[in-house]
Subunit: 510 residues, 2 copies
């Protein structure tokens, strides 16, 4: 048993009578008074399995009961340098369980596991060479434009022509798990989408009872894999055969059944999920409005991921035809606002192999530039927070503005006074028009991004009580140029007057 | 006297006693029972002038009374091909008085007339070679960054160190008028800004009585010039020394005093002017939110001009550093939404001569591309209206959407049903995120602009009862390529998958 790695015990037993999903198998792992209950599962071929995720080092005592029985002691050795444990939310950011950095730079391959092995292998190879450390993928196959192929396996079998959620397809789960493990080995989180509406097989119209059978089975099999995140759905709000009230129940069910409390969220088409839901660990947003990042961070006190902010590509759907520049523009915006973004790619392909759904190879220009941003953010001494400086023209400060609280000394200025004449709605719109992209880490790091503004100069307002090294960054050309080694206070930094420039100031005496 | 040209009568007289602005001089022009009252003015050097703008052909009888007296008959000959009369609002568009096309493509040179003659001459030369047919310019000088110079003349003189609005500076008005006439000769409308807050001389803090003296004098001198538009202010809402209630009074005053009813509007910084004001002829908007064009057109039933939608340039202010592409991107958006845009340019200059304020020469890449759009729009058989097709995702249709009225057959679609779950605010935002830029002229012309969407194909839904010639337009490269001569119904047009593409379909049998 190794800390932060899935531990599996296989035990022979008789094939379950009745449900093969809800097999009668449970285990308890004890360590220094702490007891973890897990459920096992029937894995086919007369084998039962129990999986456990050891978070701490020490000698565990375990007892297995039910269809198979065993007990014993197993030492758990400390994690090696390659295993950091599960990713946890920490404030509005993430961190690995061992305290090491995790900054999500996700991508999207919805039907990753529903392709031929050779294509999935190619996808994994591409991911390995990519900057991405999270991938959104579905359990159920996808029916949509460019997605007409029949998968080799489904998660469950049929009885009398109907999906039978007591009859898991072991081959499906084996291959899904193998890919999750493979992703884990390359330090990629598997943001696992449990439901979605793009369906011709019937998985989007199953009963609530079947949903719970499926969730229960997923927890039994998958929760010991540290790199699993639960994404309740892709576009939950389009699943009109599901009751709206089912979703919080699913979240609560997973929150209760999952012994390790994996990250959990839910992805919208139009109506955002209630991220204040107690079992939801972070915001998973489909929206182009990345400027609202500080609003969601402030409202939820949870990390904010724009898991869909349109895809780099050239398909006819407007959600799938932004330029590579616009893709990275959104990444830079969301990151300097204290949030995170997710990539997707939808370039037309003669074989209909579009990365966003089937994987394969990446064609676009944004991934390497996302890698550039990722390296930069990983090099910083902590996560970026949005830097509300002076009068923050962000939507979440409208009430302060409107009541005049945010004005302080500026109240004599006609500009600020005329802001008070705006309606709340207009003030929010106005604020959004003039959003500044400014991240900081205390007074240690300031990272301003100028987006599409072609300014000839950046004005920094650095603390006076220290000196800063200032770099000019070209986010497209991926260049970093040090322009000052000892900046302090108000400084003006010359910029080339083009789109996609950023300025980074790092304190020298940190 | 020539139709559509300013007619001027000069009469000798004694210098006025008291106000030189409110000289006792009036005239009546009679033509076929229609009588026009105009006021004259004292022009200095013992000369009084009466200006009249003849809209109709015929023999006018006139009588002048007051400080100078005269009467007589003057034939007015029909306009030549170079004179089209005043620009009028017609629905949500504009037209010259003689019925010929006027499609505004304005630019901005605020302090045009407050520069040295050589610079103003250069500006006029630049304008002559430019695509612009409207220029926004101020009567009062401008004090602002890059605008430190003292003008040669002010509109009024001083008495005891205070501006005296009974003492016009004739030299100022003479040169202003010469420039207005010069603009008229090149078919450029003078969108004359009467007040503005960027001031170190005191013109932004004059009394209401002085405002009316100034407006009265402006009407007497300028209203006979057909190419004058009254712009009450630049950023009226920042003029905190003026009462908010003055502005509708100014509008009403001009509406009453101006015999010809020149176009009139008012320009905001933050809070948009009330364009439903009865004396206001069109919307003059400062905002980046050109997507709201259809909303304003529908709300006001007046033409919509985004007279400030940021400027091409590289200065530090975010309103003055958008790229040339973004400038034309906004022009194409606003025009395909049935509105109009105004250009401005703010490139840093070693002599601080920035086009937006002082004029000079244009440095940017957008003007010629604005000219390309202008030529295209002028070649069409009428003005573009926004094409609300199917479910129009525009802000002004939110109520229809919310009540489900706009859904018709789509009500069974989960996507449309989930739209109904959005709050009104979220629905408006969502609609704005997916704005389509589609203009049309009945079923004669369809012009779709894809903005920053890099789609590989355009889908047109043309009428079935005719055939269309379809062109693919690259708005940056300024190319037009005919791709079909006989399209009808649903057609798909291949596009190169880059930003800034448009598709134009024109009916063949029109």
């Amino acid at each position: 048993m190794k800390q932060y790695e899935c531990f599996e015990l296989a035990l022979p037993g008789r094939e379950p009578v009745g449900s093969q999903a809800a097999a009668d198998l449970a285990a308890t792992f004890h360590l220094r008074g702490k007891q973890t209950e897990v459920k096992g599962f029937y894995a086919g071929n007369g084998a039962y399995k129990v999986r456990f995720y050891p978070q701490s080092v020490g000698t565990y005592h375990y007892e297995i009961h039910g269809a198979a029985q065993a007990s014993g002691e197993i030492p758990c050795v400390a994690a090696d340098a390659l295993h950091h444990g599960m990713v946890r939310a920490q404030g509005t950011h993430f961190v690995y369980e061992d305290g090491s950095k995790y900054i999500p730079f996700g991508t999207t391959v919805y039907a990753l596991v529903h392709q031929k092995k050779s294509l999935v292998d190619r996808t994994m190879k591409t991911l390995r060479a990519s900057p991405f450390n999270k991938v959104r993928l579905c359990v159920f196959p996808k029916h949509y434009e460019f997605n007409e192929n029949e998968p080799e396996f489904f998660a469950f079998g049929k009885t009398d022509g109907k999906w039978d959620f007591d009859k898991p397809c072991f081959a499906f789960w084996d291959q899904l798990e193998a890919r999750i493990v493979e992703l884990g080995a390359m330090e990629v989180e598997a943001d696992l989408i449990l439901f979605h509406p793009y369906d011709r097989w019937g998985f989007s119209s199953i009963s609530k009872a079947d949903c719970f059978k499926y969730l229960e089975y997923s927890v039994r099999r998958l929760s010991a894999f540290p790199n699993v995140w639960w994404s309740l759905a892709n576009e939950y709000d389009l699943m009109d055969r599901f009751g709206a009230e089912w979703w919080p129940e699913f979240a609560a069910f997973l929150g209760r059944k999952d012994p390790y409390k994996h990250l959990l969220s839910n992805h919208n088409c139009l109506k955002l999920w209630d991220f204040c839901n107690p079992d939801t660990t972070h915001c998973c947003i489909q929206s182009q409005r990345v400027d609202e990042t500080p609003y969601w961070a402030r409202k939820t006190c949870k990390p904010v991921i724009y898991d869909e902010m349109c895809y780099e590509g050239n398909i006819k759907h407007d959600w799938g035809n932004i330029s590579a520049f616009e893709m990275i523009n959104r990444f830079w915006k969301v990151c300097t606002l204290g949030g995170y973004g997710t990539h997707g790619e939808t370039y037309m392909d003669p074989l209909d192999i579009l990365w966003w759904s089937k994987g394969g190879t990446l064609k676009g220009e944004s991934p390497k530039r996302i890698g550039f941003l990722k390296n930069l953010l990983y090099s910083l001494p902590g996560p970026l927070e949005f830097h509300r400086e002076g009068l923050a023209l962000d939507a979440d400060s409208y009430d302060e503005m409107h009541t005049g609280k945010a004005f302080r000394g500026e109240a004599i200025d006609p500009f600020f006074r005329s802001m008070l004449d705006l309606s709340r709605e207009d003030l929010i719109k106005y604020a959004a028009d003039w959003r500044q992209y400014a991240g900081h880490i205390g007074d240690i790091v300031f990272l301003n991004y100028y987006a599409r503004h072609c300014t000839c100069a950046a004005e920094l307002n650095l603390p006076e009580n220290g000196t800063y090294t200032v770099e000019v960054i070209d986010v497209w050309e991926m260049t970093r140029k040090t322009v000052s080694a000892d900046a302090r206070g108000k400084v003006e930094i010359a910029l080339p007057g083009k789109e996609g420039m950023a300025v980074l100031a790092i304190r020298n005496d940190r």
